[in-house]
Symmetry: C2
Subunit: 247 residues, 2 copies
DNA sequence: CGCCACTTTGATCCATGTCAAATGCGGTGG
DNA sequence: CCACCGCATTTGACATGGATCAAAGTGGCG
């Protein structure tokens, strides 16, 4: 029997709430794998397997040769590159159900590194081995093209809006994107885990740490959100939409 | 005989310098087509054909169903989206040899419109018909994945740097990107055609028109470039690299 | 309990957006 | 060929959002 991400390795006990497979971005690929012909020479348990990760652990580093794509089952991650001075630049966050590393497949190299923001677990699909599974390749490629295309389309939007938004709009939109991603996964839309530091958010949004802090405080004063230690409670969705989209 | 972009339709006389096929981004796909089996049922001249475009003409509009990918043979184009107020937002430029519309393939919809900045010509590859050419599909998909992956990787870079660069850095990097694209195509690296307006550049870079004007003037005063009517002469490449990368 | 990293808050300065006016350029009609 | 008009570009003056520097507050962990 082929080991897919839907059949977690029993040795990996995991105490955290995990996203179920049919809400997982990797699922289409897992499906493909399930449908691969028996006897295609694929060793059991190779294609997708669960793996726990520690806080701070790197899934892979920038410029490392491409090996696998990952699906986040629980926890959260940040994608980082480095500027000339060696300072970390956050270029993205990954939450439960997100796919990590898809675009590395094209260049055979990861264009950024990925670090875990908290303990969690991932499903790991070793694509180079998958290439030998026979006729499933075409279907896999189709799925991949769709994912890449969506990423490109989304990126265009994100880029072109981020660049001309002010600090309130960027942070509002950022929070809303977290809310929406929570909603898609069926999680609470009021309470958002905020596993990344203010510095990470600032780096991602192209703002100074202090500005992030100030704007979040302002949001709280205006009763749009309530700040907690490592989470925020969303009080006024409409209000957030208003500040983030006045464009 | 299959009509590829390498065999321009004689009825389309074109007076402008065109990029040769082996420098064209579409060439890998054209190659695939050449290698498609004879008798595969593909009508002659359908796969890729040359087409002239007028200044201001739209290749396709935003949200239009995906039909074809284009390769720029001559001329230049801008990709545009629209904000809530209906104002145009430039999200990219396409020059000779560039591919247009690749990511539309994934979603079956173009995520932006494309307008010609000057007279020119394109090769037009109608992908939906290509899907019926038989076994070439897998190779085509491979090429497509590579292109999309590169686009995603490049976008990550562009996004994450644009957002935290100041006006000089953005414009310097923009000019350098034009220089590099010229170099790849074997064109002059000193004289750059600047077919887009200052407003287009400003929109693309997320700056005010006035700021673009001021910074270009500053560049000229510092003898980095010389401004012409619709072109710029690059005087000091190293200087440009210096202003654009101090990050 | 105390250290250290992170966050918040305050004060100041500068880059860039905005408004306004001048200049330049291409096209059109006389 | 010239005069005029409209539009793009340039230049100037000013206002302000956010970066930067500085310092105080907060929380986690040994």
């Amino acid at each position: 029997v082929i080991q897919s991400c839907c059949k977690p390795d029993q040795t990996n006990s995991n105490f955290f709430q995990e996203i179920v497979c049919n809400e997982c971005s990797l699922d289409p690929l897992c499906q493909v794998i399930e449908y691969a012909e028996p006897g295609s020479g694929v060793p059991d348990g190779i294609l997708a397997r669960r793996r726990p990760v520690q806080r701070g652990e790197m899934l892979f580093v920038m410029n490392q040769p491409f090996q696998a794509i990952y699906a986040v089952k629980s926890g959260s991650f940040k994608a980082v590159t480095y500027d000339q001075t060696g300072a970390e630049r956050v270029v993205g966050f990954f939450l439960s159900g997100d796919l990590i590393g898809v675009e590395g497949m094209a260049n055979q190299t990861y264009s950024y590194g990925v670090r875990a923001l908290e303990v969690g677990s991932v499903c790991c699909l070793e694509v180079d081995r998958l290439a030998h599974t026979g006729r499933s390749t075409e279907v896999l490629q189709g799925a991949l093209i769709t994912m890449l295309g969506q990423e490109v389309a989304m990126n265009h939007l994100v880029t072109s809006s981020l660049i001309r938004q002010n600090a309130e709009q960027r942070l509002g939109a950022f929070i809303l994107s977290l809310v929406r991603r929570s909603a898609v996964r069926g999680l609470s839309q009021r309470n958002l885990g905020l596993s990344m530091s203010r510095s990470d958010m600032a780096s991602y949004l192209g703002l100074a740490r202090e500005t992030v802090s100030r704007v979040l405080s302002r949001f709280q004063n205006n009763e749009l959100i309530r700040l907690r230690k490592h989470s925020i409670e969303v009080l006024d969705l409409d209000g957030l939409e208003r500040v983030s989209s006045s464009d």
